[in-house]
Symmetry: C2
Subunit: 171 residues, 2 copies
């Protein structure tokens, strides 16, 4: 079980970034995302509507940073450019079954570095929490996220050119 915690969402400014975090969490095999900061019905709706169309299960909810971390039973991995290189720790982390993957917003509380079991960096360069989350989950699941999304109304049939979306799949 993988859950993602997205920190410090800000209404308006972070809408698309947080939505992308939610979609990446879902596509790369997490079971849900919790976001702290401002409550944002619209942002949650975008991720939920993708789940409705493309399958799940995938949960989206708002929660406080401290209580989410405190109540989580499992291994807490904080993705930060200041942490230890992913390639050094990924084998060890792959052995853990329940993962909370924490990605920052603009301001990350200092205490998080202490509360996380791992502070992990994807490249040690400044880039994007969205890409860090994608690459980390891709590596954690060895590029094999669950292939089957349940109750999907839409499903892509891969094509060399153009688009083919199958509707009303019985999955």
């Amino acid at each position: 079980m993988i859950e993602v915690l997205r920190l410090g969402h800000r209404l308006g400014r972070d809408a698309r970034i947080s939505t992308h975090c939610g979609l990446v969490a879902r596509a790369f095999g997490a079971g849900g995302i919790v976001y702290s900061g401002d409550r944002d019905r619209k942002m949650m709706d975008s991720v939920r509507s993708v789940t409705r169309e493309w399958g799940g299960p995938f949960s989206v909810r708002h929660g406080s940073f401290r209580s989410t971390i405190k109540n989580f039973r499992g291994t807490k991995v904080h993705l930060t450019m200041y942490g230890l290189p992913m390639e050094k720790k990924i084998r060890e982390i792959r052995k853990k079954r329940n993962l909370l993957v924490i990605v920052g917003g603009e301001k990350v509380p200092g205490e998080l570095y202490e509360k996380a079991d791992y502070n992990i960096s994807v490249t040690s360069q400044p880039h994007s929490e969205i890409a860090a989350l994608g690459v980390f989950l891709h590596e954690y699941l060895r590029g094999r996220p669950k292939k089957r999304f349940k109750h999907a109304r839409l499903k892509i049939i891969p094509k060399e050119r153009g688009k083919y979306v199958k509707a009303n799949s019985s999955d």
Copy 2:
């Protein structure tokens, strides 16, 4: 040599998404990003300032979608959720030396599917061009992007807890 083409940038609405694409391109080993759509000095400045602080080389420029594709000498890889699974084609693509990696904006011109040498999907699920770009470059370079950025004023020394940024490195 890897170059990234980000399609259809829109002033305001896409500022952060395109900036993240630029930063991901740089962090994961591309030499530059071209973006089509609206010209946006501010967005380019954000990516350039990261390059100034954290090292390069990395170029950012505006260009038209058609002329960039037409003038590119090398292999054009279009990342799209409708394409063939990355894992099926990555070995073949790794043999190519000059890559233009194209990531969509809101509307992708239909002709792109024809003009690209490869239409490649990262998961066949809707998520984020930022994560798709990161995961694709990570896989293409087998998780080994160039380690040394030149003329970096700042450099991270990885730590288990907290932050350590070295200033005025002689790199």
